[in-house]
Symmetry: C2
Subunit: 144 residues, 2 copies
DNA sequence: GTAACTGCAAAATATTTGCATCCTT
DNA sequence: AAGGATGCAAATATTTTGCAGTTAC
């Protein structure tokens, strides 16, 4: 089994596992997420796949992926919406997504630092935390 | 000197200190920020001041306040833009804004947890951090 | 064959820009 | 009085919705 073939199987599996029909756009968009180790903005999808998807299709696909928990949004201080599929958790339909995200102020890329876990913090009495997210802004490895 | 009078002095001072002319809309918007301990979305400003500001004025005011470092945006996972003025740092035109933000999934409010500092994390080699931001989602004190 | 997905058109929102008028200094 | 700020109109940009045609199962 070749690598690409394995990848294809994986893509199909994720879609089927989430009760989604396997269509061309969904496969290509999901493949893009699987092959990029960073987060993607809506605009990136048209660009980086090279395909000329209808905008509406992209919106709807991202929305469905969100509902199914395949991807999720990442908070960014600059207000741009970015989506990411993160290795283990997100394919399960429930994200702990417990790692730090790095936004490069030079190239603009958002990178999932899979190995850096979000540290715990103590909240004041009365606050019931559900999810912790941490975003670090700075200059990434490539842009040094 | 009454409390409100002191507040007025403070508002004027912040504006003058940042070389901004003291206008009605700026005073009212800044006052709103000073009196709310949470973060505000663009829409909140028309609502919570009760005033019927021109939308453009609100956009421009927020933009100027951002440039001067009076307020800053807070990252939110749900993609809504929220602005906050945070006690000490932000009035100085340079924010470390080193505390945790709490977004309540029930009432939607964003609260600055002034007393909870963002813990340090070790990044992989090659990443040059500039700013750390941490957002906790959950249920706030009021919504329990 | 049927239900679900896509793409087009268009509506609804959100944000930005230009310019004449008004207000602060 | 001069420069900057506001408000209106309108240009852009972004996101959502409806519907007919197409595709997956």
């Amino acid at each position: 089994m070749t690598a690409s073939r394995m990848n294809e199987t994986q893509i199909d599996h994720i879609l089927k596992h989430n009760q989604l029909s396997v269509t061309d756009s969904r496969k290509k968009i999901l493949e893009l997420f699987l092959s990029s180790n960073g987060a993607l903005a809506h605009g990136d999808i048209e660009k980086k796949t090279g395909e000329k998807f209808d905008r509406v299709t992209v919106y709807r696909t991202l929305q469905v992926f969100m509902e199914k928990g395949i991807i999720h949004t990442i908070p960014t201080a600059d207000n741009s919406v970015r989506y990411a599929l993160c290795k283990d958790d997100c394919t399960e339909g429930h994200h702990h997504d417990n790692h730090v995200h790095f936004v490069c102020s030079s190239c603009g890329n958002t990178i999932c630092l899979e190995d850096v876990t979000v540290p715990d913090v103590k909240l004041p009495k009365g606050f019931q935390p559900e999810e912790f997210q941490m975003v670090v802004t700075g200059v990434c490895r490539e842009c040094q």
